[in-house]
């Protein structure tokens, strides 16, 4: 082999190395490549260096330079590649972070409880006090003081559940399950002078059979504001504010109605929040959804609690918590609220 062959061989070795390096994928292939080029005994660079001993003196210098240059190129490229490997390598104590974690279990809120708290929060912010009251009531607080004397036809609207034996109390014997939270209005006004600004919230009972929209027990929110100069327009402003918070719909409509304990009385609709009034299945094509019954407190109610109806006026409204939840979350069957099926409860967030 001639000396000039040596030089061209080293030059082609440079290309061979580059090619081999580009094919390296794993770190063991890398080690293999390093050994085959830089190995002290059998490495190619060592092989070429051995050629120097036998090379003609005139080319020794040039050949030596070529070998050194090749060695430098190989070393630099390998170092660079090694750094890359080091960057992507996983330490020995690495774990599989794609395995599922241990999720601490938190319970889920009942949807009725979520609505209840939302309502409490809204009215607390509006300066109301929030009250609860007894679920077993006497006839006086549930009916009579609310302008529904015995034999009043409006009692038909409240199919009442009675106790077999009255429960003794400091006041009148408790004989029935309250049919509305309005009983709380009376209890509060009897013991507190005006002004009044309260919401009463809790379960109420009616002798209604179970179906898609009725349960014999349901929850009510009752609002009562009494003071000088309280008007029906104030009621409209208040329920608009509530509707905006609960449903995002602030447009309300009052329809005259009848309740014995309010005069005038009105049923309140909100603009359908699903179709914005265009008419859909939720609002039964009417563009409006009925959400509550309300009115101006009847003077007979004020008289029953010792308020002077010439001095104060007031508004009251009552709303079903289940109905709000049904509307808000599209719950077709009210009975789902009382089955406590976790597959249902877990849909409402923690």
């Amino acid at each position: 082999m001639s000396d000039s062959d040596h030089i061209s061989r080293i030059e082609s070795a440079r290309n061979k190395f580059r090619e081999a390096l580009s094919e390296v994928r794993t770190s063991s292939e890398f080690q293999e490549l390093r050994n085959s080029w830089l190995g002290r005994k059998n490495g190619r660079i060592a092989e070429y260096t051995a050629l120097l001993k036998t090379a003609a003196p005139e080319i020794k210098k040039e050949l030596g330079r070529s070998i050194n240059e090749l060695k430098r190129i190989v070393e630099d490229a390998l170092a660079e590649r090694e750094a890359e490997f080091a960057k992507s390598a996983r330490p020995a104590n690495a774990i599989d972070i794609t395995l599922p974690g241990r999720v601490p279990q938190l319970g889920y809120r009942h949807p009725l409880s979520l609505i209840r708290d939302e309502v409490i929060e809204i009215f607390t912010r509006l300066g109301y006090q929030v009250l609860e009251g007894p679920e077993i009531e006497d006839d006086y607080h549930n009916f009579e003081a609310l302008n529904m004397p015995a034999d009043h036809p409006a009692r038909d609207m409240h199919d009442t559940l009675y106790l077999e034996k009255p429960i003794k109390s400091a006041g009148r014997p408790l004989t029935l399950l309250r049919t509305h939270t309005s009983a709380m209005q009376i209890r509060h006004m009897e013991n507190n002078p005006p002004p009044v600004r309260l919401v009463a919230i809790g379960p109420v009972y009616r002798r209604d059979n179970l179906d898609l929209t009725h349960t014999p027990m349901f929850h009510q929110v009752e609002g009562l504001v009494v003071g000088k100069g309280i008007t029906l327009a104030d009621l409209k402003g208040t329920v608009s504010a509530m509707a905006r918070e609960l449903f995002g719909s602030a447009e309300v409509r009052f329809r005259p109605s009848f309740f014995p304990y309010t005069e005038p009385s009105a049923e309140v609709d909100i603009r359908c929040f699903k179709c914005a009034g265009a008419g859909c299945a939720l609002c039964k094509k009417s563009g409006w959804i009925e959400i509550l019954g309300s009115g101006m407190v009847h003077p007979a109610v004020f008289e029953a609690v010792g308020y002077n109806p010439d001095e104060v006026t007031g508004f009251a409204f009552g709303m079903g918590v289940e109905r709000v939840a049904q509307l808000k979350w599209g719950v077709g069957d009210i009975r789902l609220f009382y089955e406590n099926d976790l597959r249902f409860l877990e849909q409402f967030g923690i």
Partner: protein, 674 residues
């Protein structure tokens, strides 16, 4: 109230369609329930509220529509010459309080079907056509709202009409063919001897109009609402007539109705009036006037209604408003039995002026709101704690089956419902556990092996209401995980729940063994605070679980705590922050062998009584029985923490304390140090 549009249009010339009328009337207090087409006509079914018996008539509905559309109300077919009673019909009213007016008129008749137009109108209103005479009475009732009746005069002994109370035990067969026994508080229309009609409710079969009837006595009367209501309720008999009378009829209507009936009689050729008519009217109607204060309208509604509108609306509704300097003196028409006070007039003005004109204002706050019911915040703390421990919230019916209530009655009687909807809802729950266990069962039967549920609610006893939290846990305490940490729930998990819940109120309860029929004996603990039991928990008795269709292999741990009592035990003083300890603590472990019958509480108590005040914590951190431990013994390891607030404890003094503790354990409990 169903009314054909053609009939309505006899009284008001309204051009709007039935749909348009329905939409507007909904905003004026007379909502439309449904519309039904009948040939060329449309039947409008209006929802009439309990206070408006006057709208249970076509003319009443037409009056509302006329007012809403600012149109005049026409008399239509009701424009007939007034009745001229000659007093020849023998009518005696023995109970003027219950029947304050009775108009009777006698006519000769030929029984047959009524004309088609009359039959059609009755049918459209949901009333079955029967015969010309009966149809006339029903037609007048639908048109004017005044119920009427017709007796076969030949069947009325001595031709007499007596309004009296039923005799005790008196019975009669009503038009529906049922024999009814009457009581002395009911009002009847009788002939000289027998009851022939339950006044204002239903007529009797014996004096019923038949094809052979030749002469009839028409009745148009006024009956007291409460009388009709109680009779109708007692007999379980609701009729078109009773539903009008019980809400309050118009005392001035009977002669008008009678005149209209007699006019129809001639018009359809069913017979002729004999001229004999009596109007027995012991207490004539006194018109009621109310002062309507102009300022009060705005004061109550919060919107201005112009004077002209007030006058127009009231006049259109047949009120008589007489303007004064401050407002109006208003006479209500006699059929407006719902008019008692000024607010009633304001409602009339408001609803026909239109609630759509109400501005939305906001009531000012006059004073800081008084505090809310403390139970709201208190229950929220319990709820938050239980949610944080992984329990989901349940809400169940407060009434349960009497059998389900039994195990929880605790020696007290049940709070039973007199008129339950079904046998599933007979008893007010004495405990929340019944509902919670049902909820667990529901979830178990729907493929959920691991269930944690709680409910916060009211419990009922003959002493009244208390608020509690009930909870149940079944399945895994630590869920399935690839790392293999799975563990089933046990007694100590729920004990931890109770501790955590009590800690929420800064209460440290103690626990004592107790027995409950619904919990497994030996695995039941009473929760004791200040010497008072405020709750109980343990493993649910298999019999209870089985009764609720829970799988027999399930272990369910459940408990209930009285939130009223728990929060009452919370320290009253305001929470104060304690300074952090300045001096280090010293920890010592001790392992002993003791008899396995000794309770952990006893060992802990022995340690505590022998230890100085500087012992601040005792923790059992290991408990072992088995290989290397003699039978009947258990190895227990305690970690004791010593700390002083005012100095660093020396090794010597801790060592001395440990020695005293070990001596006490050895002497008192025959413990052996390991």
């Amino acid at each position: 109230m169903k009314a054909p549009l053609s009939w309505i249009r006899e009284f008001v010339d309204v051009k709007a369609s039935a749909e348009e009328i329905g939409a507007l009337m909904g905003l004026r207090g007379l909502p439309l329930e449904s519309l039904e087409t009948h040939g060329d006509d449309v039947v409008m079914d209006f929802e009439v509220t309990a206070n408006r018996p006057d709208c249970m008539s076509v003319i009443g509905i037409a009056r509302e529509i006329a007012t809403a559309y600012k149109l005049p109300l026409a008399a239509g077919g009701t424009k007939v010459p007034p009745l001229q009673p000659n007093g020849n019909v023998p009518i005696t009213i023995e109970e003027p309080e219950l029947c304050c007016r009775y108009v009777g008129a006698v006519a000769d008749v030929t029984i047959g079907p009524s004309p088609k137009w009359m039959q059609d109108r009755l049918a459209m209103c949901g009333v079955r056509p029967i015969s010309n005479i009966v149809d006339i009475t029903n037609y007048v009732m639908l048109e004017l709202g005044q119920p009427m009746h017709a007796f076969d005069l030949a069947k009325m002994r001595q031709g007499k009409i007596v309004v009296r109370r039923a005799k005790a035990g008196e019975s009669m067969t009503t038009l529906d063919g049922k024999k009814r026994t009457l009581s002395g508080d009911m009002l009847v229309i009788a002939d000289a001897e027998c009851a022939e009609d339950i006044g204002g409710v239903m007529g009797g079969a014996s004096s019923e109009i038949s094809s052979a009837t030749k002469r009839v006595a028409f009745e148009a009367a006024y009956f007291a609402p409460s009388q009709i209501r109680s009779t109708s309720k007692k007999l379980g008999l609701k009729t078109e007539a009773s539903s009008r009378f019980e809400r309050g009829a118009d005392r001035t209507a009977p002669p008008r109705a009678m005149a209209r009936a007699l006019q129809l009689l001639e018009q359809i050729g069913a017979g002729s009036f004999t001229g004999d008519a009596t109007d027995n009217y012991p207490t004539p109607y006194q018109p009621r006037t109310t002062h309507l204060d102009r300022a009060r309208i705005r004061g109550l509604l919060g919107m201005d209604v112009p004077d002209e509108s007030v006058t127009r609306i009231l006049s259109s509704l047949d009120f008589d408003p007489e303007m004064t300097s401050t407002g109006w003196i208003v006479t209500a028409p006699p059929w407006r039995v719902d008019m008692h006070r000024q607010v009633d007039l304001i409602e009339e003005v408001g609803r026909h002026h239109g609630f759509e004109h109400l501005p939305a204002t906001f009531p000012g706050v006059e004073q800081a709101p008084p505090p809310s019911d403390p139970r709201i915040a208190r229950d929220r703390r319990a709820r938050t704690a239980l949610l944080g421990i992984g329990f989901s919230e349940a809400i169940s019916f407060a009434f349960i089956a009497s059998k389900a209530a039994e195990p929880f009655l605790d020696g007290q009687g049940p709070v039973a419902i007199a008129n339950p909807l079904s046998e599933l809802f007979t008893t007010m729950r004495p405990s929340l556990l019944s509902g919670v266990i049902d909820a667990v069962s529901h979830n178990r039967r729907h493929g959920r092996p691991d269930v944690r549920l709680f409910e916060i609610g009211t419990r009922f006893s003959p002493d009244g209401e208390t608020r509690g939290a009930g909870f149940a846990w079944t399945g895994l305490a630590t869920p399935d995980h690839w790392s293999g940490a799975r563990r089933a729930v046990d007694f100590y998990d729920v004990k931890g729940v109770v501790d955590q819940l009590a800690a929420e109120y800064q209460v440290t309860p103690s626990f004592s063994e107790t027995k409950k029929s619904y919990l497994v004996e030996g695995r039941t603990a009473a929760i004791v605070v200040n010497g008072k039991t405020i709750g109980v928990f343990g493993q649910l008795a298999p019999a209870i679980a089985a009764a609720r269709d829970l799988p027999a292999t399930d272990e369910i741990y459940a408990g209930e705590i009285d939130l009223d009592a728990l929060s009452a035990a919370a320290p009253a003083e305001t929470l104060r922050a304690a300074a952090l300890p300045k001096y280090p603590s010293v920890v010592r472990d001790v392992s002993i062998l003791v008899a396995d019958t000794l309770s952990a509480e006893t060992v802990r108590g022995t340690i505590r009584s022998a230890a100085p005040e500087t012992l601040i914590q005792i923790r059992e951190f290991d408990r072992y029985q088995g290989k290397g431990i003699p039978d009947g013994k258990v190895s227990v390891s305690f970690r004791l923490t010593f700390q002083s607030p005012d100095r660093t404890l020396t090794d010597d003094e801790v060592q001395a304390a440990m020695q005293r503790i070990m001596d006490a354990l050895t002497d008192n409990l025959q413990a052996v140090q390991r």
